[in-house]
Protein backbone atom coordinates (compact mmCIF):
# COMPACT_ATOMS: atom_id res chain seq x y z
CA UNK A 1 0.00 0.00 0.00
CA UNK A 2 1.20 3.47 -0.87
CA UNK A 3 1.09 5.47 2.39
CA UNK A 4 3.68 8.30 2.42
CA UNK A 5 5.38 8.78 5.79
CA UNK A 6 5.28 12.59 5.65
CA UNK A 7 1.45 12.87 5.68
CA UNK A 8 -1.21 12.63 8.36
CA UNK A 9 -4.32 10.46 7.93
CA UNK A 10 -7.85 9.81 9.16
CA UNK A 11 -9.73 6.57 9.75
CA UNK A 12 -12.11 7.65 7.00
CA UNK A 13 -9.21 7.51 4.49
CA UNK A 14 -8.36 11.19 3.99
CA UNK A 15 -4.72 12.30 3.82
CA UNK A 16 -3.61 15.64 5.28
CA UNK A 17 -0.50 17.62 4.43
CA UNK A 18 0.56 20.62 6.54
CA UNK A 19 1.86 23.46 4.34
CA UNK A 20 4.52 26.03 5.27
CA UNK A 21 1.88 28.73 5.85
CA UNK A 22 -0.03 26.55 8.32
CA UNK A 23 -2.90 25.63 5.98
CA UNK A 24 -3.63 21.96 5.38
CA UNK A 25 -4.18 20.19 2.05
CA UNK A 26 -6.62 17.28 1.99
CA UNK A 27 -7.20 14.39 -0.39
CA UNK A 28 -8.24 10.74 -0.29
CA UNK A 29 -5.66 8.00 0.15
CA UNK A 30 -4.43 5.62 -2.50
CA UNK A 31 -6.15 2.85 -0.57
CA UNK A 32 -9.46 4.78 -0.74
CA UNK A 33 -9.24 5.37 -4.50
CA UNK A 34 -8.48 1.70 -5.01
CA UNK A 35 -11.55 0.68 -3.02
CA UNK A 36 -13.73 3.10 -5.00
CA UNK A 37 -12.45 2.26 -8.47
CA UNK A 38 -12.56 4.68 -11.42
CA UNK A 39 -13.72 8.11 -10.22
CA UNK A 40 -16.16 9.93 -12.49
CA UNK A 41 -17.38 12.87 -10.40
CA UNK A 42 -16.07 15.06 -7.59
CA UNK A 43 -18.17 17.56 -5.64
CA UNK A 44 -16.04 20.08 -3.76
CA UNK A 45 -16.94 22.44 -0.89
CA UNK A 46 -17.32 26.21 -1.34
CA UNK A 47 -14.31 28.34 -0.55
CA UNK A 48 -14.95 30.14 2.72
CA UNK A 49 -17.14 27.41 4.15
CA UNK A 50 -16.53 26.64 7.82
CA UNK A 51 -16.39 22.96 8.59
CA UNK A 52 -16.44 21.06 11.88
CA UNK A 53 -14.17 18.07 12.33
CA UNK A 54 -15.66 14.97 10.67
CA UNK A 55 -18.26 17.06 8.85
CA UNK A 56 -19.06 16.04 5.27
CA UNK A 57 -16.92 18.26 3.06
CA UNK A 58 -16.83 16.74 -0.42
CA UNK A 59 -18.21 13.80 -2.40
CA UNK A 60 -16.30 11.50 -4.70
CA UNK A 61 -18.29 9.25 -7.02
CA UNK A 62 -16.90 6.26 -8.82
CA UNK A 63 -18.75 4.23 -11.41
CA UNK A 64 -19.68 1.97 -8.51
CA UNK A 65 -20.70 4.28 -5.67
CA UNK A 66 -20.76 7.72 -4.07
CA UNK A 67 -18.58 8.31 -1.03
CA UNK A 68 -18.36 11.26 1.37
CA UNK A 69 -15.07 12.96 2.14
CA UNK A 70 -14.90 14.42 5.66
CA UNK A 71 -13.08 17.43 7.10
CA UNK A 72 -10.21 15.90 9.12
CA UNK A 73 -10.21 18.87 11.52
CA UNK A 74 -12.28 21.98 12.11
CA UNK A 75 -11.44 24.97 9.93
CA UNK A 76 -12.28 27.15 6.94
CA UNK A 77 -12.00 26.06 3.30
CA UNK A 78 -9.39 28.26 1.60
CA UNK A 79 -9.06 26.60 -1.82
CA UNK A 80 -10.49 23.73 -3.89
CA UNK A 81 -8.89 21.77 -6.72
CA UNK A 82 -11.22 22.79 -9.56
CA UNK A 83 -9.18 20.86 -12.13
CA UNK A 84 -10.80 17.69 -10.76
CA UNK A 85 -14.19 18.69 -12.19
CA UNK A 86 -12.93 17.86 -15.67
CA UNK A 87 -10.50 15.13 -14.65
CA UNK A 88 -11.70 13.18 -11.59
CA UNK A 89 -9.57 10.25 -12.78
CA UNK A 90 -6.50 12.21 -11.64
CA UNK A 91 -7.29 10.89 -8.13
CA UNK A 92 -6.94 7.31 -9.41
CA UNK A 93 -3.70 8.14 -11.19
CA UNK A 94 -2.02 9.78 -8.18
CA UNK A 95 -4.13 10.15 -5.06
CA UNK A 96 -1.48 12.21 -3.27
CA UNK A 97 -1.00 14.71 -6.10
CA UNK A 98 -4.71 15.13 -6.81
CA UNK A 99 -5.73 17.04 -3.67
CA UNK A 100 -9.38 17.97 -3.10
CA UNK A 101 -9.40 21.06 -0.88
CA UNK A 102 -7.34 23.16 1.51
CA UNK A 103 -8.31 24.45 4.95
CA UNK A 104 -7.09 26.97 7.49
CA UNK A 105 -7.28 25.01 10.76
CA UNK A 106 -9.40 26.50 13.57
CA UNK A 107 -6.86 25.08 15.97
CA UNK A 108 -3.44 23.96 14.65
CA UNK A 109 -3.01 21.55 17.56
CA UNK A 110 -5.87 19.41 16.15
CA UNK A 111 -3.48 18.17 13.46
CA UNK A 112 -1.39 16.36 16.07
CA UNK A 113 -4.33 14.14 16.93
CA UNK A 114 -4.54 12.73 13.38
CA UNK A 115 -3.10 9.30 12.50
CA UNK A 116 0.50 8.99 11.36
CA UNK A 117 1.47 6.69 8.46
CA UNK A 118 2.10 3.71 10.76
CA UNK A 119 -1.26 4.03 12.49
CA UNK A 120 -3.06 4.50 9.17
CA UNK A 121 -1.33 1.47 7.66
CA UNK A 122 -2.75 -0.63 10.47
CA UNK A 123 -6.18 0.96 9.97
CA UNK A 124 -6.19 0.42 6.19
CA UNK A 125 -5.16 -3.22 6.59
CA UNK A 126 -8.28 -4.00 8.65
Amino acid sequence: MNIPANLKYTKSHEWVRVEADGTVTIGITDHAQELLGDLVFVELPEVGKELAAEQEAAVVESVKAASDVYAPIAGTVTAVNTSLSDAPEAVNQDAYAAWLFQMKPANAADIDALLDATAYTACAAE
Partner: protein, 362 residues
Amino acid sequence: MTQKTVLNETHRRLGAKMVDFGGWDMPLHYGSQIEEHHAVRRDCGMFDVSHMCAVDIVGPDARAFLLRLIANNVDKLKTPGKALYSAMLNEAGGVIDDLIVYFVGDGIYRLVINAGTAEKDLDWIAARIAEWKLDVASIPRRDLSIIAVQGPNAKSRVWQVLPGTQAATEALKPFNSVKLGDYFIATTGYTGETGFEITLPAGETENFWQKLLNAGVRPIGLGARDTLRLEAGMNLYGQDMDETVSPLDAGLDWTVDLSGPRDGIDFVGKTALLAHPQQKQFLGLLLDKGGVLRAHQKVSTAHGDGEITSGTFSPTLSQSIALARLPLATAVGDSAEVDIRGKRLTVKVVKPCFVRNGKSLI
Protein backbone atom coordinates in the same frame (compact mmCIF):
# COMPACT_ATOMS: atom_id res chain seq x y z
CA MET B 1 -20.34 -20.82 1.05
CA THR B 2 -19.05 -18.72 -1.81
CA GLN B 3 -18.93 -20.57 -5.11
CA LYS B 4 -16.10 -20.31 -7.62
CA THR B 5 -15.90 -20.79 -11.37
CA VAL B 6 -13.07 -22.90 -12.81
CA LEU B 7 -11.30 -19.65 -13.78
CA ASN B 8 -11.12 -18.30 -10.21
CA GLU B 9 -7.34 -18.71 -9.90
CA THR B 10 -6.85 -17.35 -13.41
CA HIS B 11 -8.75 -14.17 -12.55
CA ARG B 12 -6.61 -13.67 -9.46
CA ARG B 13 -3.44 -14.24 -11.45
CA LEU B 14 -4.62 -11.57 -13.91
CA GLY B 15 -4.88 -9.12 -11.01
CA ALA B 16 -8.66 -9.08 -10.69
CA LYS B 17 -10.36 -7.38 -7.80
CA MET B 18 -12.80 -10.08 -6.70
CA VAL B 19 -16.27 -9.49 -5.27
CA ASP B 20 -19.22 -11.56 -4.16
CA PHE B 21 -21.93 -11.60 -6.82
CA GLY B 22 -25.03 -13.71 -6.19
CA GLY B 23 -23.01 -16.02 -3.95
CA TRP B 24 -20.14 -16.33 -6.44
CA ASP B 25 -16.59 -15.01 -6.10
CA MET B 26 -16.26 -13.07 -9.35
CA PRO B 27 -13.92 -10.47 -10.93
CA LEU B 28 -15.18 -6.88 -10.58
CA HIS B 29 -12.37 -5.50 -12.72
CA TYR B 30 -8.77 -6.26 -13.63
CA GLY B 31 -7.48 -2.72 -13.06
CA SER B 32 -9.75 -0.17 -14.67
CA GLN B 33 -13.44 -0.78 -15.21
CA ILE B 34 -13.68 2.17 -17.61
CA GLU B 35 -10.82 0.96 -19.82
CA GLU B 36 -12.44 -2.47 -19.92
CA HIS B 37 -15.72 -0.89 -20.97
CA HIS B 38 -14.04 0.99 -23.85
CA ALA B 39 -12.20 -2.17 -24.93
CA VAL B 40 -15.52 -3.94 -25.50
CA ARG B 41 -17.03 -0.99 -27.41
CA ARG B 42 -13.93 -0.43 -29.56
CA ASP B 43 -12.23 -3.84 -29.91
CA CYS B 44 -13.37 -6.83 -27.87
CA GLY B 45 -13.32 -8.37 -24.44
CA MET B 46 -14.18 -11.63 -22.72
CA PHE B 47 -16.26 -12.30 -19.63
CA ASP B 48 -16.32 -15.36 -17.43
CA VAL B 49 -20.07 -15.75 -16.91
CA SER B 50 -19.90 -19.34 -15.70
CA HIS B 51 -21.78 -18.31 -12.57
CA MET B 52 -24.85 -18.23 -14.78
CA CYS B 53 -26.44 -21.65 -15.03
CA ALA B 54 -27.29 -23.58 -18.19
CA VAL B 55 -30.28 -25.86 -17.62
CA ASP B 56 -31.29 -28.43 -20.19
CA ILE B 57 -35.02 -29.11 -20.48
CA VAL B 58 -35.30 -32.51 -22.08
CA GLY B 59 -38.11 -34.92 -22.83
CA PRO B 60 -41.20 -35.51 -24.99
CA ASP B 61 -43.07 -32.78 -23.07
CA ALA B 62 -40.25 -30.18 -23.14
CA ARG B 63 -42.13 -27.90 -25.51
CA ALA B 64 -45.44 -28.22 -23.65
CA PHE B 65 -43.66 -27.47 -20.38
CA LEU B 66 -41.97 -24.29 -21.65
CA LEU B 67 -45.17 -23.06 -23.34
CA ARG B 68 -46.63 -22.94 -19.85
CA LEU B 69 -43.53 -21.97 -17.84
CA ILE B 70 -42.41 -18.74 -19.51
CA ALA B 71 -44.09 -15.54 -20.62
CA ASN B 72 -42.89 -15.60 -24.22
CA ASN B 73 -44.00 -18.30 -26.62
CA VAL B 74 -41.33 -20.92 -27.39
CA ASP B 75 -43.26 -21.87 -30.53
CA LYS B 76 -41.66 -18.75 -32.02
CA LEU B 77 -38.51 -20.88 -32.11
CA LYS B 78 -39.10 -22.66 -35.39
CA THR B 79 -35.61 -23.71 -36.37
CA PRO B 80 -33.07 -25.48 -34.15
CA GLY B 81 -30.52 -23.07 -32.71
CA LYS B 82 -32.90 -20.13 -32.42
CA ALA B 83 -32.96 -18.28 -29.08
CA LEU B 84 -35.60 -16.27 -27.22
CA TYR B 85 -35.30 -13.88 -24.29
CA SER B 86 -38.09 -14.03 -21.78
CA ALA B 87 -39.16 -14.10 -18.16
CA MET B 88 -40.42 -16.80 -15.84
CA LEU B 89 -43.30 -15.40 -13.77
CA ASN B 90 -45.05 -16.40 -10.56
CA GLU B 91 -48.85 -16.63 -10.30
CA ALA B 92 -49.01 -12.97 -9.24
CA GLY B 93 -47.23 -11.97 -12.46
CA GLY B 94 -43.95 -11.05 -10.71
CA VAL B 95 -40.65 -11.93 -12.36
CA ILE B 96 -38.96 -15.01 -10.83
CA ASP B 97 -36.10 -14.63 -13.30
CA ASP B 98 -35.27 -13.46 -16.80
CA LEU B 99 -33.62 -15.99 -19.05
CA ILE B 100 -32.69 -17.03 -22.55
CA VAL B 101 -34.17 -20.20 -23.98
CA TYR B 102 -32.41 -21.94 -26.86
CA PHE B 103 -34.21 -24.43 -29.08
CA VAL B 104 -31.61 -27.17 -29.49
CA GLY B 105 -33.82 -29.69 -31.28
CA ASP B 106 -37.10 -31.57 -30.85
CA GLY B 107 -37.56 -32.32 -27.17
CA ILE B 108 -34.40 -30.43 -26.17
CA TYR B 109 -34.19 -26.83 -25.01
CA ARG B 110 -31.51 -25.05 -23.02
CA LEU B 111 -32.24 -22.27 -20.55
CA VAL B 112 -29.59 -19.91 -19.22
CA ILE B 113 -30.62 -18.48 -15.86
CA ASN B 114 -29.09 -15.97 -13.44
CA ALA B 115 -26.56 -16.98 -10.79
CA GLY B 116 -28.27 -15.47 -7.77
CA THR B 117 -31.64 -16.98 -8.65
CA ALA B 118 -30.45 -20.39 -9.89
CA GLU B 119 -31.45 -22.47 -6.85
CA LYS B 120 -34.83 -20.76 -6.58
CA ASP B 121 -35.43 -21.22 -10.33
CA LEU B 122 -34.50 -24.91 -10.26
CA ASP B 123 -36.83 -25.51 -7.31
CA TRP B 124 -39.64 -23.69 -9.13
CA ILE B 125 -39.04 -25.67 -12.33
CA ALA B 126 -38.95 -29.00 -10.47
CA ALA B 127 -42.17 -28.15 -8.62
CA ARG B 128 -43.97 -27.22 -11.86
CA ILE B 129 -42.84 -30.44 -13.59
CA ALA B 130 -44.26 -32.43 -10.68
CA GLU B 131 -47.46 -30.38 -10.49
CA TRP B 132 -48.20 -30.61 -14.20
CA LYS B 133 -47.22 -34.29 -14.38
CA LEU B 134 -45.19 -33.85 -17.56
CA ASP B 135 -42.64 -36.18 -19.09
CA VAL B 136 -39.69 -33.78 -19.00
CA ALA B 137 -36.45 -33.48 -17.01
CA SER B 138 -34.60 -30.35 -15.90
CA ILE B 139 -30.84 -30.89 -15.89
CA PRO B 140 -28.62 -28.12 -14.46
CA ARG B 141 -25.31 -28.19 -16.34
CA ARG B 142 -22.77 -27.22 -13.70
CA ASP B 143 -20.28 -29.29 -15.74
CA LEU B 144 -20.22 -26.44 -18.28
CA SER B 145 -18.63 -22.98 -18.29
CA ILE B 146 -19.85 -19.92 -20.17
CA ILE B 147 -17.46 -17.40 -21.75
CA ALA B 148 -18.89 -14.32 -23.45
CA VAL B 149 -16.71 -12.67 -26.11
CA GLN B 150 -18.14 -9.30 -27.12
CA GLY B 151 -17.16 -6.33 -29.24
CA PRO B 152 -16.69 -5.36 -32.90
CA ASN B 153 -13.71 -7.72 -33.23
CA ALA B 154 -15.07 -10.50 -31.01
CA LYS B 155 -16.16 -12.87 -33.74
CA SER B 156 -12.94 -12.67 -35.71
CA ARG B 157 -10.88 -13.37 -32.58
CA VAL B 158 -12.96 -16.44 -31.77
CA TRP B 159 -12.67 -17.64 -35.37
CA GLN B 160 -8.91 -17.20 -35.08
CA VAL B 161 -8.56 -19.42 -31.98
CA LEU B 162 -11.30 -22.01 -32.55
CA PRO B 163 -10.82 -23.86 -35.84
CA GLY B 164 -14.04 -24.44 -37.74
CA THR B 165 -16.04 -21.77 -35.97
CA GLN B 166 -15.98 -19.28 -38.82
CA ALA B 167 -17.70 -21.65 -41.24
CA ALA B 168 -20.15 -22.72 -38.55
CA THR B 169 -21.16 -19.26 -37.35
CA GLU B 170 -20.48 -16.76 -40.14
CA ALA B 171 -24.07 -16.85 -41.42
CA LEU B 172 -25.70 -16.95 -37.96
CA LYS B 173 -28.09 -14.11 -37.25
CA PRO B 174 -28.32 -12.55 -33.77
CA PHE B 175 -30.07 -14.68 -31.14
CA ASN B 176 -29.07 -17.96 -32.71
CA SER B 177 -26.79 -20.79 -31.73
CA VAL B 178 -24.92 -23.73 -33.16
CA LYS B 179 -23.32 -26.76 -31.59
CA LEU B 180 -19.77 -27.45 -32.69
CA GLY B 181 -18.35 -30.52 -30.98
CA ASP B 182 -18.48 -29.81 -27.26
CA TYR B 183 -18.88 -26.08 -27.84
CA PHE B 184 -22.30 -24.44 -27.86
CA ILE B 185 -21.83 -21.11 -29.62
CA ALA B 186 -24.57 -18.47 -29.41
CA THR B 187 -24.87 -15.04 -31.01
CA THR B 188 -26.26 -13.56 -27.82
CA GLY B 189 -24.80 -11.13 -25.31
CA TYR B 190 -25.33 -8.50 -22.67
CA THR B 191 -23.35 -5.56 -24.01
CA GLY B 192 -25.11 -4.15 -27.08
CA GLU B 193 -22.17 -5.31 -29.21
CA THR B 194 -21.83 -8.22 -31.61
CA GLY B 195 -20.15 -11.38 -30.36
CA PHE B 196 -20.69 -14.81 -28.90
CA GLU B 197 -21.66 -16.49 -25.68
CA ILE B 198 -19.86 -19.82 -25.68
CA THR B 199 -20.83 -22.73 -23.45
CA LEU B 200 -18.10 -25.36 -23.15
CA PRO B 201 -16.91 -28.20 -20.89
CA ALA B 202 -15.51 -26.83 -17.62
CA GLY B 203 -12.26 -28.75 -18.17
CA GLU B 204 -11.54 -26.93 -21.43
CA THR B 205 -12.27 -23.44 -20.15
CA GLU B 206 -8.79 -22.52 -18.92
CA ASN B 207 -7.23 -23.49 -22.24
CA PHE B 208 -9.84 -21.59 -24.27
CA TRP B 209 -9.50 -18.48 -22.07
CA GLN B 210 -5.73 -18.58 -22.47
CA LYS B 211 -6.00 -18.85 -26.26
CA LEU B 212 -8.29 -15.82 -26.37
CA LEU B 213 -5.92 -13.93 -24.07
CA ASN B 214 -3.01 -14.76 -26.39
CA ALA B 215 -5.08 -13.48 -29.33
CA GLY B 216 -5.38 -10.12 -27.58
CA VAL B 217 -8.85 -10.45 -26.09
CA ARG B 218 -9.00 -8.44 -22.90
CA PRO B 219 -10.58 -9.91 -19.74
CA ILE B 220 -13.56 -7.84 -18.56
CA GLY B 221 -15.04 -7.80 -15.07
CA LEU B 222 -18.59 -7.51 -13.82
CA GLY B 223 -18.16 -3.76 -13.31
CA ALA B 224 -17.87 -3.05 -17.02
CA ARG B 225 -20.48 -5.72 -17.73
CA ASP B 226 -22.92 -3.58 -15.75
CA THR B 227 -22.10 -0.29 -17.50
CA LEU B 228 -22.20 -2.02 -20.89
CA ARG B 229 -25.62 -3.60 -20.31
CA LEU B 230 -26.99 -0.35 -18.89
CA GLU B 231 -25.85 1.63 -21.93
CA ALA B 232 -27.50 -1.06 -24.06
CA GLY B 233 -30.71 -0.68 -22.05
CA MET B 234 -30.75 -4.27 -20.88
CA ASN B 235 -32.43 -5.19 -17.61
CA LEU B 236 -30.61 -6.60 -14.60
CA TYR B 237 -32.55 -9.04 -12.46
CA GLY B 238 -32.86 -7.96 -8.84
CA GLN B 239 -32.42 -4.34 -9.81
CA ASP B 240 -34.75 -3.48 -12.70
CA MET B 241 -37.25 -6.20 -11.85
CA ASP B 242 -37.90 -8.90 -9.27
CA GLU B 243 -40.75 -11.03 -7.95
CA THR B 244 -42.71 -7.95 -6.87
CA VAL B 245 -42.52 -6.25 -10.29
CA SER B 246 -44.67 -6.93 -13.34
CA PRO B 247 -42.68 -7.42 -16.56
CA LEU B 248 -45.06 -4.86 -18.10
CA ASP B 249 -43.70 -2.20 -15.70
CA ALA B 250 -40.07 -3.21 -16.26
CA GLY B 251 -39.85 -2.66 -20.00
CA LEU B 252 -40.23 -6.39 -20.67
CA ASP B 253 -43.64 -6.25 -22.36
CA TRP B 254 -41.96 -7.19 -25.66
CA THR B 255 -40.97 -10.56 -24.17
CA VAL B 256 -44.49 -11.28 -22.90
CA ASP B 257 -46.88 -12.92 -25.34
CA LEU B 258 -50.44 -12.35 -24.11
CA SER B 259 -52.13 -13.77 -27.22
CA GLY B 260 -54.48 -16.75 -26.96
CA PRO B 261 -53.87 -19.89 -24.89
CA ARG B 262 -51.00 -22.15 -26.01
CA ASP B 263 -52.21 -25.69 -26.56
CA GLY B 264 -55.29 -24.67 -24.58
CA ILE B 265 -53.37 -23.54 -21.50
CA ASP B 266 -52.25 -20.11 -20.24
CA PHE B 267 -48.68 -19.50 -19.03
CA VAL B 268 -48.06 -18.89 -15.33
CA GLY B 269 -48.77 -15.27 -14.43
CA LYS B 270 -50.89 -14.46 -17.50
CA THR B 271 -54.14 -14.16 -15.53
CA ALA B 272 -52.48 -11.70 -13.14
CA LEU B 273 -51.01 -9.63 -15.99
CA LEU B 274 -54.41 -9.36 -17.69
CA ALA B 275 -56.02 -8.32 -14.39
CA HIS B 276 -53.31 -5.73 -13.66
CA PRO B 277 -52.37 -3.86 -16.81
CA GLN B 278 -49.22 -1.77 -17.12
CA GLN B 279 -48.87 0.85 -14.34
CA LYS B 280 -45.46 2.37 -15.13
CA GLN B 281 -43.28 3.10 -18.14
CA PHE B 282 -39.71 1.90 -18.25
CA LEU B 283 -37.60 4.70 -19.71
CA GLY B 284 -34.08 6.09 -19.79
CA LEU B 285 -32.74 9.20 -18.07
CA LEU B 286 -29.79 11.41 -19.01
CA LEU B 287 -28.02 13.76 -16.62
CA ASP B 288 -25.75 16.43 -18.07
CA LYS B 289 -23.66 17.10 -14.99
CA GLY B 290 -23.70 17.29 -11.22
CA GLY B 291 -23.30 13.70 -10.11
CA VAL B 292 -24.21 10.14 -10.90
CA LEU B 293 -27.74 8.73 -11.04
CA ARG B 294 -28.15 5.69 -8.78
CA ALA B 295 -30.74 3.00 -8.15
CA HIS B 296 -33.62 4.00 -5.82
CA GLN B 297 -33.27 7.74 -6.37
CA LYS B 298 -36.68 9.40 -6.67
CA VAL B 299 -37.66 10.97 -10.00
CA SER B 300 -40.19 13.84 -10.02
CA THR B 301 -42.11 14.31 -13.25
CA ALA B 302 -45.04 16.51 -14.28
CA HIS B 303 -47.21 13.39 -14.02
CA GLY B 304 -46.07 12.15 -10.61
CA ASP B 305 -43.12 10.36 -9.08
CA GLY B 306 -41.01 7.53 -10.38
CA GLU B 307 -37.90 5.67 -9.32
CA ILE B 308 -34.51 4.91 -10.79
CA THR B 309 -33.93 1.15 -10.93
CA SER B 310 -30.35 1.23 -12.33
CA GLY B 311 -28.03 4.19 -12.66
CA THR B 312 -24.39 4.68 -13.46
CA PHE B 313 -21.83 6.78 -15.28
CA SER B 314 -21.77 5.95 -18.97
CA PRO B 315 -18.15 5.73 -20.15
CA THR B 316 -19.24 5.96 -23.80
CA LEU B 317 -21.37 9.09 -23.35
CA SER B 318 -19.22 10.59 -20.53
CA GLN B 319 -22.33 11.42 -18.53
CA SER B 320 -24.65 9.72 -16.12
CA ILE B 321 -27.50 7.54 -17.40
CA ALA B 322 -30.25 5.57 -15.71
CA LEU B 323 -33.16 3.23 -16.25
CA ALA B 324 -36.31 4.24 -14.40
CA ARG B 325 -39.92 3.30 -13.79
CA LEU B 326 -41.91 6.46 -14.49
CA PRO B 327 -45.60 7.43 -14.59
CA LEU B 328 -47.41 6.13 -17.68
CA ALA B 329 -48.03 9.63 -19.07
CA THR B 330 -44.30 10.42 -19.19
CA ALA B 331 -43.01 10.87 -22.73
CA VAL B 332 -39.58 10.69 -24.33
CA GLY B 333 -38.23 14.25 -24.50
CA ASP B 334 -39.80 15.32 -21.18
CA SER B 335 -37.70 16.86 -18.43
CA ALA B 336 -37.77 15.47 -14.91
CA GLU B 337 -35.93 16.09 -11.65
CA VAL B 338 -33.84 13.78 -9.54
CA ASP B 339 -32.86 14.51 -5.96
CA ILE B 340 -29.14 13.93 -5.45
CA ARG B 341 -27.82 14.81 -1.99
CA GLY B 342 -30.49 17.44 -1.49
CA LYS B 343 -30.03 19.10 -4.88
CA ARG B 344 -32.71 18.79 -7.52
CA LEU B 345 -31.00 18.08 -10.81
CA THR B 346 -32.76 18.18 -14.17
CA VAL B 347 -32.68 15.03 -16.26
CA LYS B 348 -33.97 14.34 -19.76
CA VAL B 349 -36.26 11.41 -20.44
CA VAL B 350 -35.04 9.27 -23.34
CA LYS B 351 -35.67 5.83 -24.80
CA PRO B 352 -34.14 3.15 -22.56
CA CYS B 353 -31.29 2.34 -24.92
CA PHE B 354 -28.25 4.61 -24.99
CA VAL B 355 -25.56 2.86 -27.03
CA ARG B 356 -25.58 0.13 -29.67
CA ASN B 357 -22.67 -1.27 -31.67
CA GLY B 358 -20.28 1.36 -30.36
CA LYS B 359 -22.54 4.26 -31.40
CA SER B 360 -24.43 6.69 -29.20
CA LEU B 361 -28.18 6.64 -29.79
CA ILE B 362 -28.61 9.90 -27.90
